[in-house]
Structures are given as C-alpha cells and as structure tokens.
Amino acid sequence: MSRLNEENLRLARQILSLYPKKKSAMIPLLHLSQEQNGMVTNEAMEHIAELVEVTPAEVLGTCSFYEMFKRHPVGEYQINICHGISCHLLGAEEVLEHAEESLGVREGEITKDGKFSFEGVECIAACTEAPCLQVNYRYINKVNLDAFNELITDLRNDQKAEIPKHGTLAKTRQKIPSEKLAGPSGVEDATPPEWLQRNKESQ
C-alpha cells in the first residue's frame, strides 16, 4: 500500500534517468513517497532501496538524517515556527507558546482531529519578515498572535486552498522533453563533450 503507486513509479523512473548514479535519486524519491503517504513508511523505503539498488538500511540512513522526512504521522498541516535568531529577537518564543496553548498540544504532537502539528524550526530564510512560519512549507510572514489564530481558523475551514496537504512540496516539476535532453554522461565516460572538442578545433 505505501510502496510507490503506479503514477509515482513512473515519475520515479523519470527522476532516476536524470542522474549518472541511481543513488543520487534517493532524496527526490523519498520526497515522492512522502508526498504520496504524508510520511515516509518502511515499505516505501524498501521500495526505494529496490529502485536505487541499495539496502533498505542505507535508505533509512539517509532518510533519518534530514529534518523534513517524517517517519511518524504528522498533522495534515505541519506548522513550522521559525525560532532562528532574527525571529527570536522579534517574538518567536511567544508565537511558539501561543501555538502550544491555542492548539492544546505540545511541540511534535498532533491535535485530536489530526489537522495540526507544530514545531520550532531553525532559520527558514525569511529573516526580514520575522517572526515567520511555514505551513506545509508555504510561508506566512510577520505573524502575530491574532494572525496565528486567524490562520488556524482558515485552515480548519479549508480556506487556504494554496496550501497543499503535508508531503507535497513543489506543485510544478521539472519536465525535460526527450528530444531536448542532452543526456547525463556516464561517470566512467572520460571523453570531453563533443561540442568542446569541435569548438577547440574551430579556434
């Protein structure tokens, strides 16, 4: 069930074809599985291991290093409240405390309706918009406590169509038409690109 479905398997094969070595596709494929299931499951990691031709343990090794991959369920809306230095200076701790009180859960827990979970995260590169947060990696700038409440109400009433469910990152993918693809050169292919040789000859 939580192996990659047919559509995602097709996407996975496309992603794999762009890299000189299959293992490089590991992180993109983990994202793909998280998009499908909202988290990364053991079955998905086993499937990815087959696809990139490594052991499931190696996939777990990579997966567990990166903050964004969740191996446990999170809320439909994962709220990442920035507490980097710029946001800290402008009230991030109050936003975090408020989130805990108003949602009635602690950092890392999920609300009973399954809608929300939140955590304090490190700098998310919106320092001039402090304090800021992300909902499923979509930015909300200059958050005060009222704005936070409003955001939660909107999300509860499904008023934020632009924010996809947890796991979906970019809604646009890179698509290279086959006739336009220069093609990855093999790692063992030690010849300089043809165009370069001919360019030198013409000089």
């Binding site: 990139v52 710029s86 646009t172 693809l181 360019n199």
Partner: protein, 439 residues
C-alpha cells in the same frame, strides 16, 4: 552610490521570473555573448571580474574554476541553493524572483569550463522556489536555452533541479556533494580542500553559490573589467545584504560592495532606517550566525571582505542581524548556540559533543542554575572545538560548523559578561528529579 543593479534588477518586475519577462528585460544576452567567445575567454572574463564567492567563505570564483584539473571528464557543476545560515535571506529571493538569471549563469559556467552536467540543489523547505526554478527550466528547455543544442549551437548541457530535505550542514560544499550522492550530508575529510579535484562521484566538481552564479550573466554581457570597476579594489561588484532584527525597516538590499558601510545599511534612510523605537544599538551580527558579533564602534567599517576579516569577523553570507538595547544577550547567545548544536551533523566529536554541552550549560545559566565556574567551563569547551578561540578560528573539526558555535559565546562574553554573571547570581536551587519527577 551610482552603480547598476546587477543581481536584483528584476525584483520589482512582476513577471521577471517568466521567460517572457526575463527576455524583455535583457535576459540571456550574456549567454548569447558567451557562445560567440571561446570557453577560455569566458573564464578569463570571470577572473578579470574578481568575483568573490557569495556563499560565505568569499573565495574568488574565477580562481576556484581554475582548480579544475585539465583533461579530466566528466566534470560537474553543483549549485549551492541550500541557504540556511540564520539571518541569511538573499538566495531564496534570487531563486523565486529571477530564476532565469541563475539558470543563465549555470549554463554560461558549464560552457566556460566544458562541464558535463549541472545540478541545481535547492533547499528542501523552499517549495515556492522549487516551483519557480522548475517552471523556468521547463521554459528554458522548450526554447533552447538549456539542454540539447543550446541556441542552435552544438553546445549541450542539462541542468537538473534537485531538492534538499532540511539540513544546514549541507551548505558545506563537500556535504552538499554527499547529499547529492544520496548519502547523509556529512562533510568530507580534507584534503582535497576543493571538490574541483575530487568532487561529485569522485570527479572534478565546481560548487558555486546561487548569488555568485547570478552575477555571471551580467559579467559576460558587460565584461569582467566593467564589473571590477564597481565596488572596492578587492571586493568588486555589488552584493546583497539582508538586514533583520531590531531595525525600523528590515530589508534585502543590493549595495556597492566594499564601499557602503554598516552604518549606511543599518541607519540609512534608504536602507534599514535605524534602530526601532529610537533605541540604542547593543550589538550586530555582520555576516550570519557563524560570524563573531560587532558593536557600535564597528558601524563605520565598510562592507569590504579584507577589512571586516581584519577587524575580527566576516561578511559571510551577507546577513546582518541587529540587536537593540532591549536584547537579552544571554538568550540571544543561547539561541545561536542551540542552532549549531541542533545542526551539528555528528561526524566530529568536538562539535557533536561540544556544541551540545555549550547549549546545556547556557540552558542552565538561563534557568538561574548556573555555577560561578560555568563561564570558564564554556570557554574551556569552546577551546576544545576551536583551540585558542582566535579569529580566523582554528578547528579540531573537519568543517567550520563547530567553531561557528564559539563565535556568539566569545563575542557575548567579551562585551556583556555582566549579563551572564547576573543570571548566575540568581543562584536558584537546582531541582532534583527522581524518575523524572521533581522532588
């Protein structure tokens, strides 16, 4: 103050991120020009520009490019778009508002150096940035600016968008390569110091920052000499700085490199507009969380690499974080140290254990449970990570993350030790817990 906007010229153009908007505002001219030149000549222009890397270390890009061993293929370009240094906010805007400029820079670099493939690594959390780059790449492929037979020539190269997944350390170039190979993002042992000799898949690899590459189209269109005329002698061109924290008008500004001062940027009406509420300045971070802090007396220092280095800090990633007189220095220091402690990859013991202990000791001090000997203990742990606590820092670790955790502590103690002492003087009784319950 009279200089052209080089990297941020399209930030106010509503459709500057689309191919149409990009072409209308002079886009892809640099690439056309490059294709009329020999690859070596293109490289030569970048050398003439003396473009310093904009990621943090500030190494000249043209010289870095020159480290590629001749006649070894395949060779790769990896774009470092893993912007995560606290206070840094420039690469994300460049990615979101002017993705074609970055792509053009990548393609020109691939042409200049005869590279086989380019991987554009965008930080995982930047979903919108990934969408913008993906749309821009799709357009660029369709219209022949990337891929097979670029602009009808024989020159062909693919640019592949790659997503990260959340790890600060991946901004270190060898860790970035490890991550791109599908591994845990841990820095590689040096030497080799530059992945130009042994990089991605063990092959020669150039790793450049997003802002660095975004300068390339302008340099090729207008020439390296024209670029070198802007700014100071050794810090050429323009540079983007983000000013955040306790200022009236936080913002991201492109300024002439090496000439503008911290005072201009922090206090200037055209820039951050001064400290909020008429407060006094307490301290500021001049170049991202890794940089030692500056104070009032450094305000007139120009934003010039060598001068800032000599004054004991760095311009790093162009992130200026301002703290006013209301700032609790111990809390701010704890905040930055906690960052490095959380983001330590765990490879080197002094960093993995040291940053963790620094955070715990600061926690204890903040809670009023500090001990008088804690200040010496902090400095002792710092000394184990960065012997002598000097600038530039020595390190007992593979990469500079560990020593970066030392900067906020040495800076805060140097100027505001009394605030640490005041917390320690609270001398609250240390709670005793039995099986997790306070007794």
């Amino acid at each position: 103050m009279n200089f052209p906007l080089i990297t941020t010229s399209r930030w106010d153009v509503e459709d500057g991120h689309t191919l149409e908007g990009y072409l209308r505002t002079g886009g892809y001219k640099g690439l056309r020009r490059a294709l009329e030149m020999a690859p070596d000549q293109v490289h030569e222009e970048v050398k003439k520009a003396s473009l310093l890397g904009r990621g943090g270390a500030g190494f000249p890009a043209g010289i870095k490019w020159g480290f590629l061993p001749p006649d070894v293929w395949p060779r790769y370009l990896v774009v470092n778009g893993d912007e995560s240094e606290p206070g840094t906010y420039k690469d994300r805007i460049l990615i979101e508002r002017d993705p074609h400029q970055l792509i053009e820079g990548c393609v020109i670099a691939c042409f200049a150096l005869g590279l086989s493939q380019c991987f554009l690594y965008v930080r995982g959390e930047m979903a919108h940035g990934q969408e913008r780059i993906a749309s821009a790449l799709n357009e660029a492929y369709k219209h022949g600016y990337v891929g097979k037979n670029i602009l009808g020539t024989e020159f062909s190269v693919d640019v592949v968008l790659h997503w990260g997944a959340g790890a600060y350390i991946v901004g270190e170039e060898t860790a970035l390569i490890e991550s791109l190979e599908g591994n845990r993002g841990m820095p590689r042992l040096k030497p080799p110091y530059f992945p130009a000799s042994i990089g991605l898949y063990g092959k020669p690899t150039i790793v450049n920052n997003v802002e660095t590459l975004s300068n390339i189209p302008w340099i090729i269109e207008h020439g390296g000499d024209a670029f070198a005329e802007i700014g100071a002698e050794k810090s050429t061109g323009t540079r983007i700085f983000a000013v955040s924290g306790h200022v009236k008008n936080p913002g991201v500004f492109e300024v002439e490199f090496g000439i503008t001062t911290f005072r201009d940027l922090i206090m200037g009406e055209d820039y951050a507009g001064g400290i909020r509420d008429g407060n006094a300045l307490k301290a500021f971070i001049p170049g991202g969380a890794s940089a030692p802090w500056f104070f009032e007396e450094h305000l007139d220092t120009p934003l010039e690499k060598t001068i800032v280095d000599n004054e004991g800090s760095m311009l790093g990633s162009g992130a200026i974080v301002v703290m006013d007189e209301t700032t609790d220095i111990v809390k701010a220091c704890h905040n930055v140290v906690r960052f490095f402690s959380r983001e330590s990859c765990g490879k080197c013991t002094p960093c993995r254990e040291g940053t963790n202990w620094l955070e715990k000791i600061l926690d204890r001090i903040l809670n009023g449970h500090g001990r008088p000997e804690d200040i010496d203990l902090l400095l002792d742990v710092c000394d184990n990570i960065s012997p002598g606590i000097t600038w530039p820092p020595k390190q007992t670790t593979i990469c500079p993350l560990g020593p970066s955790a030392v900067s906020p502590i040495s800076s805060a103690l140097q100027r505001y030790r009394s605030e640490f002492d005041a917390y320690i003087a609270l001398n609250r009784a240390t709670p005793v817990t039995v099986e997790g319950r306070t007794v």
